[in-house]
Structures are given as structure tokens and as C-alpha cells.
Amino acid sequence: MSKRLKTNDHKLTIGWLYPDLMSTYGDRGNVICLRKRAEWRGIEVVIKEITLETSEKELENCDLLFMGGAQDRQQKIASDDLRKNKGPVIKKMVEGGVPTLFVCAAYQFMGHFYRPAEGEDIPGLGLFDLHTIHPGSDKPRCIGNVVVKTTTSYLVGFENHGGRTYLGKKVEPLGEVVVGYGNNGGDKSEGAVYKNAFGTYLHGPVLPKNPHFADLLLKLALEKKYGKAELVELDDSLEWQTHKFIVKKLGVGV
């Protein structure tokens, strides 16, 4: 490791949006993963739980943001607060290059709108150029293991969503599904990328089994904060074993 970065004095504040509302599907694992992978490299980590009562100032001070999926009722509570208070701040942060990860319900909410099976459209933050339509409760949910091919690698995870997401022109997909439904079960796209903001349907949770994705987020956060960043390599043999096990289980030859 020739280019070992002196990370002893580095510190990251990871903002975890609505841990008590938007965390039904084990997505806490993403936060655990980011924290551990930073700490193992000697980077000090503060997890800032951002919930209804947290001020916008505290949100602004975060170097990386994460938000996960939720039950409908809890999602409504969080989305009211997002629209009124925290949304504009998050938008500004994303435009400024702060890395963010939005999973499932959080991903949908970052689009223009969500059209439920019944009732009126629910406006989103419009951070990603996309919208989501629920085709009706008689239509099957998109449930199952997923393998996604990105431009440089593969991602594995588990999806469980009723809404179908359609990307606009101003946003790139995170990748293409090799196994699974992805955004809408039709065009093979999965997730969305805009600047350093990533949206995805992947639970699993997504980061522990895809350590390269976790490290990308950490690297982006460090670069934004300290200019240049080179991450020390970790022994990820177990991470990749777990990753490959799922790829193999699904019979994908990658």
C-alpha cells in the first residue's frame, strides 16, 4: 500500500435520514457498513440521526446522506417533513456534490411524483428526473433477488416494491438488471444516478454485499471534504464471498 493516505485526522459525518421512520427493510445495514469501513481505515465517523425534530443546520453539516424504505404510514409522516423542511436542503447538498444513497421508498420519493393505485399523485422532491406509478394492488409486487450490471461492476441485492419507476432524460440508470425486475420490470434499468446521488431498489442491504459501492460513497465524501482521497484497501474476502454466493445462487455467469 504505497499511497496510504493519512486518514487519522479525517472525520466523516454520515446523516441517516429518519432512522425511526424509514428503516423497515434492514437498511440500517448500510449505515453500519459505511461506519465500519471508514473506521477500519482510521477515519472517525459520526452518525447523525436526522429525524422530524432535527434542525436543517445539522443536516447541512453532513458529509454523506442515507435514507431507506418504510411502511406507507411512516413514509407519509417523513415525506411531509421532507417537503416542508429538509427537502430543499437535501437538494442543495446534492447539487453541491454531497454523496447520497436513497433506497426503495426514499428513492421513489426523490422523483417528480408517485402515482398510487388509488388517489392523487404524491409530489416528490424532483431530485431525480423520474416518476413512479403503482399499477394497482391486483398487480404483483416486484419481489426477489437481483443482480445488476453497472458500467464497471456488478451489484447484488433483494427488491420488494409495488411501484414501477420510469427514468427521464436527465438521469442515468445505476445499471441494468441481469436478474430481477429493477425500476419497472420492462426496460431492464435499475436505480438512478444524478451527480453523486444514487437511488436504488436494492435491499440486502445493498452496501455490505457490494463493498465497492460502499467505498465509492466514502471516497466521494472524502474527496468533497478534503480534496483528494485514496482509500486503504481492506480484506474484503468475506464480502465478495457473500456477493458471489448470490450471483451463483441465481445462476448468473459473471
Binding site: P19, G26, R28, H203, L234, D235, T242, F245
Partner: protein, 436 residues
């Protein structure tokens, strides 16, 4: 004269069950009922109508099997009644039909007074559609198999819709400490009874992450908890609409089993028994030597060592298993078995909602269909990055159990924490025979 028509499906089911038993084919507790029910949908309500006492239904994410077994034990030993019950896991309608048919004679008559049936989350409304029970017991609602059952709020809504039609002579027994369960008692015609804990010595110092009902079931504002026993079970109130934990009819008992969750199971069973008119001393006598079902903590001697199996099928169940095994003294070896079959849920993301950080200094082995996922979770729960001295990953369950028994010293106990289908596999290996 309707009865004659039911005899064919009954014989069919009995023959299928006998053949299944004879050849050890498995699924003997659901398949016969499935066939009979296919033949005639009315068979269930007809069979149930023969039970002179009535039916007691038990639902909830965790604790169904133990609570059912306690109620059954009290009815059999305390009241000297004959009871039909479904086997653990056979908790869909076909499992209930199967157990009822197995209790019939050749004329289709049932020789039992009571039916005690555990039903899974989705089956409760279906069962209430078929017949009116004497008592419905609702224990709790935690996140569990979201890919199969859907979210907790949705289940609660469906349950309330199904309960609202029940008549006055039906009793609903609810856990007052679970906000969403307690609120199910709202606007019912049936009589409602509550149980809950009132013991400050077992209140948690800190909230757990796996809380599923931390918001008011009526007005959606954040609930205040004066104390939490585990997950979202505790003394709660809504500061916005003033909804609060109902007063309870029973809050303590001489508990026959360890574990806080077993206190709830016991309170539920005892309250049911009281409603049915069983005297307290009869209840106490019946539960004195209560043996839990397989996978619910009982001690098994294997090759001169001891094994305790604690079924751990969702975040709350797992957290409580960890808390319970921490109460046992001494050095420990723990085997975590994670499967992703249909009864376990295909999605294993939920293990990241479990507080494995609380496991303390124990030797860990992981196994099951998703042994690596579990191993990875443990790696990220440890202080150091060097996990290999603490965790061994063994895909093969038999080898994992062997390894665990070897790792456990004399007089030590191997604790096995499996998901549902993994528990059945563990039982098969330990007993050395097929079990369903």
C-alpha cells in the same frame, strides 16, 4: 343430512394422512386438510360446529406456538377437556382442517370439546370468515417476512376489519403493551380483555432499532414510552390525541419459562383460562411442568453435551433470543442458522435489524442457506476487522452442529438460533429422523 357429503373428503384426508405417515412423506399435517378443503369448502365450519366448547384462535408474529400449547395444557389438565390443536407451523386453514379430520371417527364425529388453533397473520381473517371462535388471542405484531406478509400496519388493518363483526359472546384477548394490538380493541362488539407487563425490573435501558409501532395507531403522532420491555412493547401513550395503553386485566403470574417474551405468552394463556372459568390453582397446577415445543429453549442432551434451540425468525425474536441467552451464565458457543426458504422469508435483509452487537464474547458459527450473509453480518457487529478468530462459516448444517458441539466444552451448552425452516432441519439432524 349435509353430513353424508362430508364423509368422502374426510376419508380421503384420513387415507392420505395414513399413507403419508406410513411412507414418512412429510407434510402430513397440511396436505390431507388441503385435499378435503378442496373437495368441500364448508367442511371447516361443519367440523368446528361439532366442538361443544368452541374454538380459541391465537395469532401474532411471535409466541403463537408456546401460547397455544399453554392454553391446550390448561384445558386438558385443568379442565380435563379433550382438545384438538394444529401442529406448530401448520397454521393455515388446511392445517386446521387436517387436525380436525384426524380427530373424527369413521362417522365424521369429533371426539373433542375444544379447538385450540394458532393461525398465521394472513389466515386470521380467513378463519374468522369461516367460523366464530369463543376466544381470539392477539399477541403482538413485529416486522416479519415483509416479502410474504406485507407491512405491520397493513396486517393490523386487515385484522381490525375481521374482528369488527365478532359478536358480544366472543372474547378478544389483546396485548396492551403493543400499541397496534391494543388499538384493535377499539369499536368492537365482542368483549375485550387486556394483558400486559408491569415490572420495572425488566425495563430496557435503551430503545431497540427493531421497533415497528412507535407511532400512534390512531393519530400517527410519535408515541411516548415510559418504559419498554422489548421492541415497541411497553407503557405507551400518545401526547397528541391522548390515546394510552389500556388498563390490564392481568399483569403478573408465576412464570413457568424464562425469557420476557414467555411472560407475555403466559399472561395471554392464563387470561384465556380465566375467561373460560378455570380456577387459578388449576391453572398453576397445569403449567407447573410445562414443556415448550421444540425450538423454544428446552434443553436437549446430545453426545454428553447440551443443546438449547431458540427459534429466531425475525428481528424482535432474534433480539429476545440474544437477551435470553445472555441471561444464561458461563462460556457459550452460538450457532446461527439462516435459511431463505418460503417459511423463513426469501429476503434476509432483516438480520441487519438484529442487534448482534449484544452477543458479547461468545464463539460463533454460522450456517444455513445464507451462511455467508449471516457471517458478514457478524463481521460488521464485531469491534475488530479480524473476524476469522471469532466466526466460523459452515454451509453444511450437520458439520456446523458437529463443530459447535466440539467447540463447547464439557458442561457447556451449544445455543442454536435458527430461522423456521432451519429449526426443522436442526430437529431432523438432532433426532436423526424426518419430522414433518
Amino acid at each position: 343430512m349435509r353430513k353424508v357429503n362430508f364423509l368422502f373428503p374426510i376419508y380421503l384426508a384420513k387415507i392420505v394422512a395414513a399413507v403419508s405417515r406410513l411412507f414418512n412423506l412429510g407434510a402430513g399435517s397440511t396436505w390431507p386438510g388441503h385435499l378435503a378443503f378442496e373437495q368441500d369448502k364448508q367442511i371447516l365450519s361443519w367440523l368446528v360446529s361439532q366442538l361443544k366448547g368452541g374454538v380459541i384462535l391465537i395469532a401474532g408474529t411471535n409466541g403463537k406456538t408456546t401460547t397455544s400449547k399453554m392454553i391446550r395444557t390448561i384445558l386438558e389438565h385443568g379442565l380435563k377437556k379433550k382438545v384438538v390443536h394444529n401442529e406448530a407451523g401448520a397454521n393455515l386453514l388446511n392445517g386446521i382442517v387436517s387436525s380436525l379430520i384426524m380427530a373424527t371417527d369413521w362417522r365424521g364425529r369429533i371426539k373433542a370439546d375444544w379447538g385450540v388453533f394458532e393461525v398465521d397473520e394472513a389466515t386470521l381473517p380467513l378463519a374468522l370468515n369461516e367460523f366464530t371462535p369463543k376466544v381470539v388471542v392477539l399477541l403482538n405484531l413485529f416486522r416479519d417476512q415483509l416479502d410474504r406478509y406485507g407491512e405491520v400496519d397493513l396486517i393490523a388493518q386487515k385484522w381490525h376489519k375481521a374482528l369488527i363483526g365478532l359478536p358480544r359472546d366472543c372474547s378478544i384477548v389483546l396485548n396492551a403493551d403493543d400499541p397496534q394490538i391494543a388499538f384493535l380493541g377499539d369499536k368492537l362488539k365482542a368483549r375485550v380483555f387486556y394483558f400486559g407487563l408491569e415490572d420495572s425490573s425488566v425495563i430496557l435501558a435503551e430503545k431497540q432499532h427493531a421497533m415497528d409501532s412507535s407511532f400512534c395507531p390512531r393519530c400517527a403522532a410519535r408515541l411516548k414510552f415510559e418504559g419498554i420491555y422489548f421492541s415497541h412493547l411497553g407503557h405507551w401513550l400518545c401526547s397528541s390525541c391522548a390515546l394510552l395503553r389500556p388498563k390490564v386485566d392481568l399483569s403478573s403470574w408465576d412464570y413457568p419459562l424464562v425469557g420476557i417474551y414467555n411472560r407475555y405468552n403466559t399472561l395471554a394463556a392464563v387470561l384465556v383460562a380465566r375467561i373460560l372459568g378455570v380456577k387459578d390453582n388449576q391453572i398453576k397446577q397445569s403449567l407447573k411442568d410445562f414443556h415448550p415445543a421444540f425450538g423454544r429453549l428446552e434443553e436437549i442432551a446430545v453426545e454428553g453435551k447440551k443443546i438449547r434451540v431458540l427459534l429466531s425468525k425475525n428481528p424482535t425474536g432474534f433480539n429476545e433470543s440474544i437477551r435470553t441467552l445472555n441471561e444464561f451464565p458461563g462460556k457459550k458457543t452460538v450457532l446461527l442458522v439462516l435459511n431463505d426458504q418460503i417459511p423463513d422469508g426469501r429476503d434476509v435483509s432483516w438480520i441487519w435489524d438484529v442487534d448482534f452487537e449484544e452477543l458479547g464474547d461468545v464463539g460463533i458459527i454460522t450456517s444455513g442457506d445464507r451462511a455467508y450473509d449471516m457471517g458478514l453480518r457478524i463481521k460488521y457487529a464485531l469491534q475488530t476487522q479480524n473476524y476469522s478468530s471469532k466466526v466460523k462459516i459452515k454451509e453444511d448444517l450437520k458439520e456446523a452442529i458437529k463443530e459447535g458441539l466440539e467447540a463447547a466444552g464439557d458442561d457447556e451448552t451449544l445455543y442454536i438460533l435458527p430461522t423456521y425452516s432451519a429449526m426443522l432441519e436442526v430437529r431432523e439432524i438432532i433426532a436423526g429422523r424426518k419430522i414433518l
